[in-house]
């Protein structure tokens, strides 16, 4: 029987980890992730999991220990935020290059400087090209479910690619919600046992990982690494559907959720927790006869270019919301991807980018409404008031 519990997002992910029961977990504290590992450590201390906890001295060490452990054949996890993820950066590429199916929840937080501990997406966006799959969560329930599914996605023999599951710092990580925790035996059956085909320290099949590889084969190896992540969209959908069939959840199990998009004239594109507020705005506008819609992107890497273009080509205006900046690029990273997706689409919708919420700056319904107002204006005049706007920014 599923249990309904009042949990923070961090607790919900810790419950997912408890049910996954990883062989090894490496941990190092950083706000706002800390309470996630603290909760998981309670499960370890109470003997509710068989996990060996490794308490390391930095995130660089955490990810290194994770890579070593996973390479030795153990299902291994860690979790982090912000500068912790940045400090792991070097080793993120190694996890992906070794084709290790590591799963890591990341509680999104702003990067320094200036120092800020609130939520935005600059941390994981900085790891955009590290070779990991990025799955965003809208709320605690999704963070829980995405973490469970991530194991199956990462470990799929055709994928073997690490996955980061993100949840917005404080908004999801520390907000308390009702979360449905599914029956542990069934979850464990769904997740399955970890049976890696290749591991270190197997005397019958000795192997080497990550050795020197110059111009002879480096390029070939890196291109072959693409096979895993390129295969993953299919697996993400299969795993999502199986999850939904098994547990009957009502989260997003696709690459993105198209909300009231069937007859929409305009669409906002969002990641993470802002989808909740945007849905309210869409409903309100709909009740006033305005054909508003929303696309909530769940898998940012691999990015669902073609499916998204097919959905967006039906609308007249698109506003992409970004909770981080791509300095020197075209606004924010999501915007860059969406523009790229729409290249070559006939009669592509008008498009603008809205940056919001850096360092935890509040995003209220009025700000999202203003984006729809801009879209209405764009449809009427054939032009957005600006290509890149900043929501709730002090002038």
């Amino acid at each position: 029987m599923p249990e309904l519990l009042a949990l923070t997002g961090n607790d919900a992910v810790a419950y997912a980890m408890k049910q996954i029961n990883p062989d090894v977990v490496a941990a190092y504290p950083i706000t706002p992730q800390t309470s996630l590992m603290q909760k998981f450590a309670d499960f370890v201390a109470d003997g509710e999991v068989d996990t060996e906890m490794v308490l390391v001295e930095s995130e660089h060490s955490a990810m290194s220990a994770v890579v070593g452990s996973q390479a030795a054949g153990a299902r291994t996890m860690t979790a982090t935020s912000a500068c912790g993820l940045a400090l792991m950066h070097e080793v993120l590429y190694i996890a992906a290059g070794y084709r290790l199916p590591v799963v890591m929840p990341v509680v999104n937080r702003a990067l320094s400087a200036p120092i800020n501990i609130q939520g935005d997406h600059s941390d994981t966006m900085g790891a955009r090209d590290a070779g990991w799959i990025h799955i965003f969560s809208e709320n605690a329930q999704e963070a829980y479910e995405n973490t469970l599914q991530a194991i199956r996605i990462a470990e799929h023999p055709e994928v073997l690619t690490p996955v980061m599951v993100t949840l917005d710092g404080f908004i999801i990580s520390h907000g308390v919600e009702t979360v449905q925790i599914f029956d542990t035996a069934r979850v464990q059956q769904f997740v399955g046992e970890y049976k890696p085909a290749f591991t270190l320290l197997n005397p019958h099949k000795p192997m080497t990982l990550g050795s020197l590889d110059f111009s002879d084969f480096y390029f070939e190896h890196k291109v072959s690494q693409l096979q895993g992540i390129n295969y993953s969209p299919k697996v993400i959908l299969e795993v999502g559907r199986e999850f939904q069939r098994t547990f009957g959840g009502d989260c997003c199990y696709e690459h993105f959720e198209a909300y009231r998009m069937d007859d929409a004239e305009m669409a906002v594109i969002v990641l993470g927790s802002t989808a909740g507020a945007t849905r309210m705005v869409v409903d309100d506008l709909r009740s006033r006869g305005i054909a508003a819609g929303m696309v909530k992107i769940r898998t940012f890497r691999p990015f669902p270019y073609e499916e998204l273009a097919a959905t967006l080509k039906k609308v007249k205006a698109v506003a992409v919301m970004d909770r981080s900046l791509a300095y020197g690029g075209d606004g924010g990273p999501v915007h860059i991807e969406v523009r790229s997706a729409m290249y070559g689409v006939n009669n592509a919708p008008l498009m603008a980018n809205y940056i919001y919420g850096l360092g935890g700056k509040p995003i209220d319904l009025v700000h999202i409404e203003s984006v729809f107002t801009d879209m209405q204006q764009a449809i009427a005049t054939g032009k957005f008031p600006r290509r890149i706007g900043y929501l709730n920014l002090k002038e």
Partner: protein
């Protein structure tokens, strides 16, 4: 003359974020007292820190301040000192900042003997992130990450600094602020890399888990452990069991200082090049 503390502080940033009774305040006050005694100009002094409760200190200090990343303050500070060798550079760090995530930089700053001062507020815990154990958490002590007691052996920070090559090393404790100020002043005045370890109370994160949840009990506990060096010299190893020796523990005026060496190297190479150019017809 009484020290005008507010002159050295950013009053508009107060009240500070520390818990009432936190030992970091004692250290900041001692630091200001030492700077004042030496008559250092605020504009000639840089205070650099990493991340942590301790590392928040420069935010309140009206000097050239650099608030950096967790564990790396010494590397930023090394850059500042190399660019401006005639200015004063002070680093203030927590035990985690200096010896867990930043342990590598700590030993290398000591090894180079660069003319900076590192003040470590050793509260035996990661205060800021909720009381996880640090490399100085005592054996058997409880932390958020050691609910059944710590089994990791801990570092002796002062000995680590001496072993790695620091040329002035002292240890004080917050129950004796006067001596903390003296060690900081001597460390600042010392030409070379100086390390001042200050045993401090984090009653909120450490004390609470170890039956010392108020600052007074915890400062008393610190006071009960420390033995000044001159007294310790007259004590037997049995009597010294479980005690922590405070005082000036190491001073070496012989080892060359790094920015001096660097300057001399430049002069030597330039002289050689000039001689070579002069020898040409």
């Amino acid at each position: 003359m009484a020290v005008d503390y507010l002159y050295y502080l950013r009053a508009d940033k107060l009240p500070h974020m520390w818990c009432p009774g936190c030992g970091v305040g004692v250290v900041v006050k001692s630091m200001i007292g030492a700077i004042d005694q030496l008559g250092w100009e605020k504009n000639d002094t840089a205070v650099v820190s990493g991340i942590g409760c301790t590392s928040r200190a420069p935010g309140y200090m009206d000097m050239n301040t650099l608030h950096t990343t967790h564990g790396r303050a010494l590397t930023f500070a090394t850059g500042v000192k190399m660019a401006a060798p005639d200015k004063h550079v002070i680093v203030i760090s927590g035990d985690g900042d200096a010896t867990a995530i930043g342990g590598n930089h700590f030993i290398h700053a000591c090894r180079r003997n660069i003319d900076m001062t590192l003040i470590i507020v050793n509260n035996n815990i990661y205060g800021m992130t909720g009381g996880q154990f640090s490399p100085t958490t005592p054996y058997g002590a409880k932390a958020a990450t050691t609910p059944h007691g710590n089994i990791d052996p801990s570092f002796d920070l002062a000995q680590l600094a001496i072993g790695a090559g620091a040329t002035y090393v002292a240890r004080g404790s917050v129950d004796n602020a006067r001596m903390v100020q003296k060690y900081i002043r001597d460390g600042l005045a010392h030409h070379g890399f100086s390390v001042i370890e200050v045993l401090s109370n984090c009653h909120t994160q450490y004390g609470r888990r170890n039956k010392m949840s108020d600052p007074i009990t915890m400062v008393d506990w610190i006071a009960s452990q420390v033995v000044p060096r001159n007294k310790a010299e007259k004590m037997s190893p049995e009597e010294l069991q479980g005690k922590i020796i405070t005082g000036e523990l190491h001073r070496n005026a012989e080892r060359p200082e790094y920015t001096d060496e660097y300057r001399k190297l430049i002069e030597r190479v330039q002289a050689k090049q000039a001689a070579r150019a002069g020898a040409r017809p």
